[in-house]
Amino acid sequence: MTVSTADEGTRSSGGRLLITLLLPIVLLNVIAFIAPVANLVAMSFREATATGSMKEGVDLATWSSLVADTYYWSMLWRTVWIGALITLITLVLSYPLALFVSRAERAKALLIVLCISPLLISAVVRTYGWMVILGDQGFLQALLRSFNVTPPRLINSQLGVVIGMTEILMPYMILSLLSGFGKLDTTLEQAAETLGAGPLTVFRRIVLPLSMPGVLLGCLLCFVLAVSSFITPKMLGGGRVALLATEIYDQAIVTLNWPVAACLSVLILVVFGTALLFYGQLSKIVE
C-alpha cells in the first residue's frame, strides 16, 4: 500500500515537471506557428473588393469564387505535378551521388561537405547563377550553339524552373538519403550475390528497398520545398510558370488581395497535409 502511494506521488510530480519542461516549446509554437496559421485561416474568410481593399465581416465569398474558378484548379494541379517532377529528378540525380558518398572510404566527410556546401549560399544567389548560365547569352546556350544545336528556351520557362529547383533541392535530398542509408549493409548485398543475384537485381531487391526510408523522407522534404518556393520559380519562370506559391506572392504583394492569398495558402497547407499522409502510409509499407 505504502509503496503504491509513494509511486503515485512521484508520478504526479513527474507529470508536473513534464508540463513545466514542455511549456516553453508549446508557448513558442502557439505564438510562432498556431497563431499565424489561425490568422491565415481567418483571413481566408474575408473578402477583398476589386480595388484591393478588404471588407469587414466573415463570409465564404472568396472561397466559393476560388473553388468555382477552374484557373485555380489547373494551377493547383500544375503545382503538384511540377513539384512531383522536380522531386523525382532531384531523387534520380541525388541517389547515385549519395550512394557513392555513403560508400566512400576516404574523404567521406569532405565529400559530404561538398554536397551540402551549396546551402551556404542563399537560393537567390544560386538562382542568379542559373540565370547567368542558362540565359540567352549564357554559357550553356553558347556551348550548345557552338555545336550547331538550337537550344530550347532554358530560362523564363518551365524547364528553367525545373533545372534551377532541382539544383537548389539536391543538397536536402542528399542529406535525407545519407541519413536513410544507415540501414544499408554491404554484407547484405554480398549475401544476395552469393544467392545468385546480379548487380541490377541486388540494387532492385536489396539496396533500393532498404534505402526507401531515406528516399521517402527526401521526397517529402523536397516536394514540400518545391511546392512552397516562389523565389526561384519567379526568377527563372519569366512569368510563364504560374504556381500556387508565386500566385500567393502576386496576390499578397502585387494585387493586395490578402483573402485570396490566404485561401491559396490554406490550399498549400492541405497539399502538404496530403503529402504527409502519403508519407506516413508509404513509410509503414516500407518498414
Binding site: K183, D185, T187, Q190, A191, E193, T194, L195, G196
Partner: protein, 357 residues
C-alpha cells in the same frame, strides 16, 4: 577432387599479400576447416572461393571447372555470413526463397522447398516473421537454410558460430555437422576456434600470415603439428629450448630429455602438452623406462579451475605447466612440494630452430 585451389594469391596494393601460394583440394562431401588467428587470410580465402574477392593470381576449380573468372552470382555457392546477413525487409520465408527466385524456380516449387529447408533447421513456425523478431540462434538456422536451399555446389561458412553463446554454439556445431553429413555437402568452414574445427572437420588447414602452415586431419594437426605455430595454436603447450646431443637426447639446462624424433643437430625447440605430463611425489621411487622422460621440480603455483589443477613447476630444464584432472581421492600438491614429472617420449615434440645445412 571436387574443389581444387591452386597457388591462390591475394594482394592489396603493395602490402605483403593477404594470402599467398595457397593450394589444397577437397573431395565431394568433405568438411574442411580453415583455422588460424585473425588476419591470417582464412576469410579472404573463403571470399575468393565465393567470388566476393577477386584472386590476384591462382586458380579455383569446382568439379573440374575453372570458376576463377566467374562473378559470385554465377558460382552457385551457399555462403553463411558471420553476421548471418538476413535481409531485414523480407520475411523468413522470403529470405529463404530469394536464391530460388534468382534461379527462376517455379512458384509452387519454391514454396515446397522453402518449407522443407525450414523444417530441416527446425524452424517451420516462423516463416512469416521478420528476421529481427528471431533470436540469434534462430537467425543462424535461417541463414543456414537460405544457403542450403539453393543446393549449392559448395557450402562456405564464415565463422558461423562466433556470435552465439557457448552452450548454443556446441548444439549448433553438432547440427551443422549432421546436416552436412546428411546432404554430403562439400563444405569449407572458417573459424579461429580450434575446438570447433577439431570437433566437426574432416580435415583442417591451419593458416598463418596468409600462408598454409599445415593441412591434415584433426588428429594429425594435434599430434603431429608441422610447425611450432600449429602446435601452439591448437592447444596449450609448454616450450623449452635445448641443444641436440650426439646420443639423440636433448640437453635442456641440466636435464636430458628424449624426444619422439631421435636425433638432430644444433638448437631445438621442445614442446610438451601440459595434460600429457604426469606428476608424482618425488620420493616415490620408480624405474624410468626408455619411453619415458622424468625430471624433478618444485611446485611454484597452483590454479584450481574446476575440472583441472594447473601447476607451474620449476625444473632444472625450466618452468613447465602441468594439468591434472581434479579428483576427490587425492590431495593436490601445494606450492613448495618437490615432485617428479614424467611423460612419454612420443609426446615430446621437437622443432629444429636452425636451418639445416
Amino acid at each position: 577432387m571436387y574443389l581444387e585451389v591452386e597457388s591462390l594469391e591475394k594482394r592489396y596494393g603493395h602490402f605483403a599479400p593477404s594470402v599467398s601460394d595457397l593450394s589444397f583440394s577437397l573431395g565431394q562431401g568433405e568438411l574442411l576447416g580453415l583455422l588460424g588467428p585473425s588476419g591470417c587470410g582464412k576469410t579472404t580465402t573463403l571470399r575468393m572461393i565465393s567470388g566476393l574477392v577477386q584472386a590476384t593470381s591462382g586458380k579455383i576449380k569446382v568439379g573440374g571447372q575453372d570458376v576463377t573468372g566467374l562473378p559470385t552470382y554465377r558460382r552457385n555457392m551457399g555462403v553463411m555470413f558471420q553476421s548471418y546477413a538476413l535481409f531485414p525487409h523480407m520475411t523468413i520465408a522470403e529470405n529463404v526463397a530469394f536464391g530460388l527466385q534468382m534461379r527462376k524456380a517455379r512458384h509452387a516449387d519454391i514454396a515446397k522447398r522453402v518449407e522443407s529447408a525450414l523444417a530441416m533447421v527446425h524452424l517451420s513456425g516462423v516463416a512469416e516473421r521478420k528476421p529481427r523478431e528471431l533470436s540469434g540462434g534462430q537467425q543462424q538456422r535461417v541463414a543456414l537454410a537460405r544457403a542450403l536451399v539453393i543446393e549449392p555446389d559448395i557450402l562456405l561458412l564464415d565463422e558461423p558460430l562466433s556470435n552465439l553463446d557457448a552452450k548454443l554454439r556446441d548444439n549448433m556445431r553438432g547440427e551443422i555437422r549432421d546436416i552436412q553429413q546428411r546432404l554430403r555437402m562439400t563444405t569449407v568452414f572458417v573459424t579461429h576456434d580450434q575446438t570447433e574445427a577439431m570437433a566437426i572437420c574432416d580435415r583442417i588447414i591451419v593458416m598463418n600470415r596468409g600462408k598454409l602452415e599445415q593441412i591434415g586431419t584433426p588428429h594429425d594437426i594435434y599430434e603431429n603439428p608441422a610447425t611450432p605455430m600449429v602446435a601452439e595454436f591448437v592447444g596449450r603447450i609448454n616450450r623449452l629450448e635445448g641443444q641436440w646431443r650426439n646420443d639423440g637426447a636433448v640437453a635442456v639446462g641440466d636435464s636430458l630429455i628424449r624426444a619422439k624424433d631421435d636425433g638432430g643437430t644444433g638448437r631445438v625447440l621442445i614442446m610438451i602438452r601440459p595434460h600429457r605430463i604426469d606428476l608424482s611425489a618425488s620420493d616415490a621411487k620408480s624405474a624410468v623406462s626408455p619411453e619415458e622422460n622424468a625430471i624433478n621440480g618444485t611446485i611454484r603455483h597452483v590454479t584450481y579451475v574446476g575440472d583441472t589443477f594447473q601447476y607451474e613447476v620449476a625444473t632444472t630444464g625450466g618452468l613447465l605447466h602441468v594439468e591434472k584432472a581434479t579428483s576427490s581421492a587425492t590431495d593436490p600438491f601445494q606450492p613448495g612440494d618437490t615432485v617428479t614429472l614424467r611423460w612419454k617420449t612420443r609426446d615430446t615434440l621437437t622443432f629444429s630452430t636452425e636451418v639445416a645445412g
